[in-house]
Amino acid sequence: MDKFETLTGIAAPMPLINIDTDMIIPKQFLKTIKRSGLGVNLFDEMRYDDDGKEIPDFVLNKPQYRDAEILVAGDNFGCGSSREHAPWAIKDFGIRCVIAPSFADIFFNNCFKNGILPIALPQEQVDVLMKDAEKGANARMTIDLEAQTVTSSDGEVFSFDVDPFKKHCLMNGLDDIGLTMEKAASIDSYEAKASQSRPWV
């Protein structure tokens, strides 16, 4: 997994609540058996018209946001389907950080497995960052995972919470499965115990 330490980049504003994973990557793109190549279809139905032409009004189609690496969005981002294709598409587009007042649970977890940092901040602070993002390409935000801060283009600093274990994995690009396999002895002994107490499982 790619490491995440610091990031300074353009933030695209999407002031919409309940952005669901069907919006992020519609189902017709779930038929792939790969993880890569989904970036062109990120937000597909909002981004392209019926003929596949770009809709100029959509934020990621605007010249100033085409290289966005951060997304600032409304409440309950990533709700709905568990599809990991959503973070895969976000990452493939080049976005490494999403800031919103809250995230849906499964999406939130999926981000960390893919080197994306989801940051939940209070609504008022997201409002400030949304305004900042609306300034366009000159307004670069900085995310510092070690220090757990977001710095707006005006230098305003906001602190965020992150689970220490998830932070550790993200900063070091660690593979969960490898870490868990180091605890194989615990799993073995759990299984031995459970085969006595719940043999029907």
């Binding site: 568990s82 499964i106 459970a194």
Partner: protein, 467 residues
């Protein structure tokens, strides 16, 4: 011992390792797999020379992509990429030695219908699947939730999941439901009350007389949509109905093992003085038959209401509501009962079980549809066979419904069953998101009986007027 909730009890029974910061390795009893969210996980195993740790606890079935038309054995009914996904699952199931129900098997169906039907899902288990509606299995008092593909790979390789415990939320539905009100109306009404993020960070236990009165099918409908309320999982404590449903299922324990299992299952309930972080109580009598009007499952109203205006809402919901109204092609103030419907879809893991088909057939008996198209997609081959035996299939066909084979179908329209832009659908599924049932398609969620009523009149309809 300090009092515990049902969730606490199941959680405690599955912790294989706990780190100092509370991060746990939770042991997984059943891992369900389907073709859309698993190929990359199996590929990951191959690339790292890992194997499936517990193939006997891993069950796979193709459901999302499969055509549901009668000619589906013909490979030409599938697009190339759908076929590749299903073939990948065939191959992965074989290579890794996991239980498998191929499309040709009568037991094939939607993963969340097949699991309980075959007795894979049992009380007190942990059940995961790369699919958010895994919450369905919570109806058995199993801790069941959706996971992403990286986690699918993690469970395949280690039979555990890295988890932190969620908070406990109790949703109590007191008293009796009124006639015409179903499990679907309960679950939609709860989401209408809490909002789609109201359950975020929680595991919900549904309880109360109205929940106890539901059949296992109804309880599965309620838990299925826990995820639409943002919850990690939904749970209902197992009782005699649960045990009766499980008994004799192909993969349920037998003999002495059954007795041992039953003894433990009977301890699975929330203690009287257990701590709840959040409580919601709704009176069963206050729940009406409901429909959704917008593009979020929280956009719920009684069928007797009118389309709201964006200005009825506050905060970020004002813009979201306006966007929904535009997308849905609805005008504020229009009575919901005047909204005309083009298509009716009865099926999905929310409402594709035998009881759902019975409820719809009851309304349709001797009537004809007044919509352009209507289809019934049974949740599994076995549900389909039973409905044929009970004569329900004939009722549907005579009314003008297409009688399909099992799969997810128009619930998410990954197979050929899709809405056209602007086409309006009365659906028994669980998501009314923009484009969910086909680009530009407009979805109104409701119960099977309400969907059947809409099929007959061609409009959103109060089923009570047809009863």
């Amino acid at each position: 011992m300090s009092p515990k909730t049902l969730y606490d009890k199941i959680w405690d029974a599955h912790v294989a390792h706990e780190a100092d910061d509370g991060t746990c390795l939770l042991y997984i009893d059943r891992h369900l797999v389907h073709e859309v969210t698993s190929p990359q996980a199996f590929e990951g195993l191959r690339m790292t020379n890992r194997t499936v740790r517990a193939p006997d606890k891993t069950i796979a079935v193709p459901d999302h992509n499969v055509p549901t038309t009668l000619d589906r054995a013909n490979a030409a009914t599938m697009t190339e990429d759908s076929r590749i996904q299903v073939e990948a699952l065939d191959k992965n199931a074989k290579d890794f030695g996991i239980h498998y129900y191929p499309v040709s098997d009568v037991r094939q169906g939607i993963v969340h219908i097949v699991g309980p039907e075959q007795g894979w899902t049992l009380p007190g288990m942990t059940v995961v699947c790369g699919d958010s509606h895994t919450a369905t299995h919570g109806a058995f008092g199993a801790l069941a939730h959706g996971i992403g593909t990286s986690e699918v790979e993690h469970v395949l390789a280690t039979q555990t999941l890295i988890q932190k415990k969620s908070k406990n939320m109790k949703v109590e539905i007191t008293g009796k439901l009124r006639p015409g009100v179903t499990a679907k109306d309960i679950t939609l009404s709860v989401i209408g009350t809490t909002g789609t993020a109201g359950g975020t960070g929680y595991v919900i236990e549904y309880c109360g007389e109205a929940i106890r009165d539901l059949s296992m099918e109804g309880r599965m409908t309620v838990c299925n949509m826990a995820i639409e309320g943002g919850a990690r999982a939904g749970l209902i404590a197992p009782d005699e109905k649960t045990f009766e449903y499980c008994m004799g299922r192909p993969h349920a324990p037998k003999g002495a093992q059954w007795e041992a299992a039953l003894a433990w299952w009977k301890t699975l309930y929330s203690d009287d003085d257990a701590h709840w972080d959040k409580v919601l109580t709704i009176k069963g009598e206050d729940i009406a038959p409901v429909v959704t009007w917008g593009t979020s499952p929280e956009d719920v109203l009684p069928i007797t209401a009118s389309v709201p205006a964006a200005s009825d809402f506050k905060g970020g919901k004002v813009d979201a509501a306006q966007r929904s109204l535009d997308y849905m092609g609805l005008t504020a103030g229009t009575p919901l009962k005047e909204v005309e419907i083009d298509t009716v879809f009865i099926g999905s893991c929310t409402n594709g079980r035998i009881e759902d088909l019975r409820a719809a057939a009851e309304i349709l008996k001797g009537k004809k549809i007044a919509v352009k198209r209507a289809m019934v997609v049974p949740g599994s081959g076995l549900v389909r066979a039973q409905a044929e035996e009970e004569g329900l299939a004939d009722i549907f066909k005579e009314a003008g419904f297409e009688w399909r084979l099992a799969g997810c179908s128009m619930c998410l329209a990954m197979n050929p069953d899709q809405l056209q832009p602007g086409e309006r659908c009365a659906a028994t599924s669980n998501r009314n998101f923009e484009g969910r049932q086909g680009r530009g398609g407009r979805t109104h969620l409701m119960s099977p009986a309400m969907a059947a009523a809409a099929a007959i009149t061609g409009k959103l309809t109060d089923v009570r007027e047809l009863m």
